[in-house]
Subunit: 624 residues, 3 copies
Amino acid sequence: MQLGVCYYPEHWPEDRWPIDAREMAETGLSLVRIGEFAWSRIEPEPGRFDWAWLDRAIEVLHAEGLRIILGTPTATPPKWLYNQMPDMAALGRDGKARKFGSRRHYCFSHRGYREQAARITSAMAERYGSHPAIAAWQTDNEYGCHDTVQSFSPAARDAFRLWLAARYTSIDALNQAWGNVFWSMEYRSFDEIDLPNLTVTEANPAHWLAFRRFSSDQVISFNRAQVDILRESSPDRDITHNAMGFYTGYDHHDLAADLDVLGWDSYPLGFLEMFRFSEEDKCRYARQGHPDIAAFHHDLYRGCAKHGRWSVLEQQPGPVNWARHNPAPLRGMVRLWTLEAMAHGAELVSYFRWRQSPKAQEQMHAGLLRPDGEPAPALTEVKEAAANVAELGPLGAGTKHAALVFSYTSEWMTQIQPQGEGCSALWAAFNCYSALRKLGLNVDIVAPDASLDGYGLVVVPCSPIVPDALAKSLENFGGQIVIGPRSGSRDEDFAIPPTLAPGKLETLIGGKVTLSETLRPGVVYQGDDWEVAGWLDRLERPQGGATPELTANDGTVASWRNANVRYCAAWPEGALIDRLIEKAAIDGALPAARLPEGTRRRSCKNYIFEFDYLAAVASIKPQI
Amino acid sequence: MQLGVCYYPEHWPEDRWPIDAREMAETGLSLVRIGEFAWSRIEPEPGRFDWAWLDRAIEVLHAEGLRIILGTPTATPPKWLYNQMPDMAALGRDGKARKFGSRRHYCFSHRGYREQAARITSAMAERYGSHPAIAAWQTDNEYGCHDTVQSFSPAARDAFRLWLAARYTSIDALNQAWGNVFWSMEYRSFDEIDLPNLTVTEANPAHWLAFRRFSSDQVISFNRAQVDILRESSPDRDITHNAMGFYTGYDHHDLAADLDVLGWDSYPLGFLEMFRFSEEDKCRYARQGHPDIAAFHHDLYRGCAKHGRWSVLEQQPGPVNWARHNPAPLRGMVRLWTLEAMAHGAELVSYFRWRQSPKAQEQMHAGLLRPDGEPAPALTEVKEAAANVAELGPLGAGTKHAALVFSYTSEWMTQIQPQGEGCSALWAAFNCYSALRKLGLNVDIVAPDASLDGYGLVVVPCSPIVPDALAKSLENFGGQIVIGPRSGSRDEDFAIPPTLAPGKLETLIGGKVTLSETLRPGVVYQGDDWEVAGWLDRLERPQGGATPELTANDGTVASWRNANVRYCAAWPEGALIDRLIEKAAIDGALPAARLPEGTRRRSCKNYIFEFDYLAAVASIKPQI
Amino acid sequence: MQLGVCYYPEHWPEDRWPIDAREMAETGLSLVRIGEFAWSRIEPEPGRFDWAWLDRAIEVLHAEGLRIILGTPTATPPKWLYNQMPDMAALGRDGKARKFGSRRHYCFSHRGYREQAARITSAMAERYGSHPAIAAWQTDNEYGCHDTVQSFSPAARDAFRLWLAARYTSIDALNQAWGNVFWSMEYRSFDEIDLPNLTVTEANPAHWLAFRRFSSDQVISFNRAQVDILRESSPDRDITHNAMGFYTGYDHHDLAADLDVLGWDSYPLGFLEMFRFSEEDKCRYARQGHPDIAAFHHDLYRGCAKHGRWSVLEQQPGPVNWARHNPAPLRGMVRLWTLEAMAHGAELVSYFRWRQSPKAQEQMHAGLLRPDGEPAPALTEVKEAAANVAELGPLGAGTKHAALVFSYTSEWMTQIQPQGEGCSALWAAFNCYSALRKLGLNVDIVAPDASLDGYGLVVVPCSPIVPDALAKSLENFGGQIVIGPRSGSRDEDFAIPPTLAPGKLETLIGGKVTLSETLRPGVVYQGDDWEVAGWLDRLERPQGGATPELTANDGTVASWRNANVRYCAAWPEGALIDRLIEKAAIDGALPAARLPEGTRRRSCKNYIFEFDYLAAVASIKPQI
Ligand SMILES: [Zn+2]
Ligand SMILES: [Zn+2]
Ligand SMILES: [Zn+2]
């Protein structure tokens, strides 16, 4: 694994560059990510390029033996470009233009901006495509950041109509698939279809699902246009992009198919504060992040990445500026996070950023250096981590224990139609992931069409659509299977299947879901040390079908078992999903044991990593 | 009482219709509500009508002896119509168009849409007006659903100006009535008046009240246009409309004056979850609904209906899709709800819907059949209820105990000017209603101009405007009277009367309210087992006027008594209003007795109905 | 000190005026504020003035010996004027016009409205400029009320560009100062700069700060235009304006520089309910207001006022209409508030309003008379207060104990960039103020450039920008100094200084802040009877620099001491800031002693005032 850093030479006086470069090298870093926000310096006026400063910056870094990940600057088009075509702005769900003044002020469907993005990408690719310092390219920056994937602009509407026409061929087919006869929503042509925002009450869930798929596809094609240019002008360089945490606005499996390496940006403290963890965990882990945040994404994005190549393109090194509250990490956490990434197979951990900026939006975002150029606390830990990394031999492959099936479509569907507040496929997946991790198991988060060979346990937390490939691989799977609610409950266009849920999985599960209901907080059915909460499916099972396994004190069946298959009839959360997964792990003879609070483990062929989040200590032992 | 069901033949293959019709008849249903969302199938293209399918559907149902309530489809105009005149959309309070894509995408004031609504109504009335299967017509569907009564469109503004000119005749009269000299809000002509939204701070409450009245009147005249057409082309059929729960967007007394039967849509579980019940009650009654939800509306709408004819046009049969959490009813509740409606005098209970739709917005809304066409749990209970209904002889009239006075204007005024957060006339009425019901009393919820003959007790929970008719009937009333705060505190145009509150009721109450204040949660004055909270009126009373009755430990007077009249000086809620109403009931020698938690009763001439909501059990005994 | 009242003769029949005037005089009032909302009566049609009624009203009041504060009516332009140029409306941050229908419906940058405001001001000034009854003028009313200082209109955008050009001279200077290279936000000309609203994510804090300064300056210049006219046509009259509570939308030091007397509007109960006090305090002081609310503003605005002349232009006399809950003051509070204002040096306390209006937006806002013209409870207390005031001789100057440094820019900066939710410079100042008051100390709230002579203690709660004048006066200050977090952490354009925080104060404080972090509720470090919460600065101090003073049980340093200077490294709130200020007061030998809960004191040369808020008792003793 290499270590790297994000750097903005354009922010600093040129005579500082050599000092920075030397210190980076001394710290043990080998890759520097630059350029992704520099459009206004690369092309200060329409058509006038200024390459000189960037040439020099690259040379200075290269001279210290550092290699470059060069970003296309399409996340920050300059004001002169925006003013040429202000309708390049995305429109929010409220119909309002999202204007210039920060970043990501563009609509993925705007043809004019797509041309501009291609133009600047080509210019950079031609300039630096065969430069020896360039190790890789990053396209744009954090697609979807600030909720920018969905745009409700005229450009998006027009593109959506074309997309629908391509997908459904005939308007009758679309009306039929969506059930538009309901509420007289039938269309006579694709040109009658609008975007699903600003309707009187919620639009058809099938309409929303189509729009979510379309919006994701627009990101993919926007990215692919850059990838095509870069592959042409800069052969043999990796192409990457930096994904985000707990973000599902586009399908990362689709994006990753066009990339060599999938990167992501890891901010465990900010994510803990801003996402749905309990108040108790938000306090307990305020300086560490919940122990499964980083690992979940490592395992998720490794599963998305073509050939499993992935990296951390931005690693939190201190307090950030964007959460409600922004504490500093505990001493030891920057090293721990680095080694946790390594344990999960990262190619690179790149800290964000080299030096804290004294100005603009992120002036309170820590770096490895303080704004005055002196070392920030993280720098020492990065050096320690660099030494640790250097000492270790090859890790070997991660041990295969459990696979967890996740698809982006699942999360879109539960967002569109939660039915019970808080029922989200993403968080169901996180809960199941955490249950596995607390038992010390390795987890691969895989797409529905992934091979399940070699695992002892497969978990499908919540997958409303079950592709044929998944149904088939589950049928053929010899290990233990745990399936959560809503799985198999919908067809491709959000319709309930004629046989009801779980659709294609009915034989496997050994029953049919005849009624689903959702339960408010406070309405729970108590089991031993777990409870039924949030969601409850009633199962009708044939002779020889599933039998109740976990039953609450009042007789409510929390989970069913059919040979090697368990069905979780309540929402997969808390102690219930922990117990259920533990049972499956034991039945599958996996090396599962309850770890102490805050402790996690990752096994590779040659080493075992142990992480004590409460103490901020990471330790590595050779496998024996 | 008849039982019926809501049915959408256009959703299902035609060869299924006869099966459905036969099963409906076997279940004990006799009426089927159809057609109200079928515009795009009735008129698939502008001016081209397709009656054939609807003819056949009606025939199939009729052949099984079922009769039809046929809905005008004006709640769901098709996209081709919307595209002809996109300004038919209502504008929200935020000024944004509320677009096509769900339902109710029209402004009640839009003249073009009014013409279209008349056109489709005429077409249906001419086609089916004298068809023997047609028992009744339903106009549109749930006026106001999704907050659609108020529109802030140019069409509404223009209509509002005409409405104001008609009401006030001269602009000086309007300026004077509203007190527009305050803040220089005086107008020189009706054409200067805008809608009261998007003002810098709140608009004049008189301005809002006029707009609320206008908005209600627009619903009434929109509905009346359909009624006139239907009466002309379809004589001798009942005309009905389905009102909603806890909804006060238009004056239901006014609407009902144009109808033969007032219907409403009863979703006790959804209403419990979405409206202001305590967390404790939301959990305790999650599968039953609070025991007064359905009954309150039965008694309210019976009081609104011309000649007291009313029905339940939609009855919840299982989980719905639109609340935050959507549990299934306890076994027994569908029968209980049916019998509760009967006990209150319903002509019809119609379950919504026959079969759960596998597609579109309501795919998670249960029906009597599951999406796969098999019986859902409710079907058995409906059969039980049908048997019970058939066994019973005529109930006879409901026994007269207490009248509760409610006007829609009161709720509009407390919404416009709560003065203390949460002080709502509607919920004051619900609290008083519940207090009466918990004593086992029958309640008639009546309009301010209703006769009070035959009651032992009258409650006026919160009536800022006291029409002369009400003042007169209270003066002449011989039984016990309970009056709540704000009553008599305003004139017709929201001005404080020259003699202050309670205005026309001063002699009756025996005092003048010289100061009103509102109290935050946590500021309470403790009485025995009750407390003063929310609101507090200070009374100045003449010699021989009211005397304190309930006094808190610190001396704060919670209620006053003047002969047969009690005045509640605090907000009518909790144990305070329970005690006060109990005192009045005892003084009035009503058969009041505290029922156990969750138990309710309804007495008719021939039967006593008892409902145990906690156990989901309804029992019926003959009067002895 | 004089007592006065706000009066609206245009609301009442003319034959009532003499009765009102006589009762005012008998109550002990000598000043009457009128006219500020009367534009539609003064100029009922464009260009047609009706002075007759106002002439008579002034005469009637004058005849009773009352003198007038006459308001320019520019807060309420009439509809005919608004219709002439509807683009005079401000646009909200959401880009929507804030329309006619209440008040303050204008944009400060609209040139057309500025002309109209000058025209009506000139007309009034010419008519009444030398009238003997006119004691003073009030410009407009409550600038900024209903959040009206910031407008996002085209007029504001154009004016902002001119303002920026004047401030920065060259666009390169602006780009450099703001750090616009970050995210390619560089501009090529001032005409490329837009307002900072509706950006995709937050705009550059430097952009926001400039917009806040600009918006404040627009208020100042709008006001100055009126002042210039009034000084010309009405010499020797005081000019005043009424500021609000906890309101920082414009720089009150700047505004006051153009006024003779700075007024403010004191509503302690409404402010308690609507601003950030604990639930406990909101209940405990529901009928009194927190004991520091009024005093804080008295001391703040005295410090803003040129020559220290200030007054209470509106004093709450009973329940108001605009808080979530609106209780009545405890008997005694109206007198107590009056005497508290006197103790702090007010020239005038003017009650709002004489008689409660039965109509329009404020019909639930109490007056000294009820709507029926009878005395409201406050009237008796005003008479008592008038008698008290009359009995007292001159108070003499307030004793100088502590100075508290506050600038409006500080609050703008913490609003723009809180970094931790709830970290506000205004509330830091309030906390420090309260800590001083609870020790019985007098406090002067002063501008950063104020002289610190004569104080024993200076507190700088949170001042990100430290002007040279403040740095200098702190260096020369001989008494005790307490400095709070973020102080000195930014330059004039929101950049972190090259030496990091506390910038110019580094030597004084004896250390450098190398890391700042923010802590969520629940993450605290416990000290004896205090805790570290909200914010935490880590200090690097040189040999001989600051040493830890308050250290939490786990070793976290809460505060540092360097000779006479204390640095509070945590957020200044709760017991921590109380202890720290107490230590400084003791070291400074100030007469500090912990007062009982709810008790406060104010010392002048000749009297000591004591206020028991819990008992609603004010007592005055001569100094001995
Ligand atoms: Zn981001
Ligand atoms: Zn509805
Ligand atoms: Zn105000």
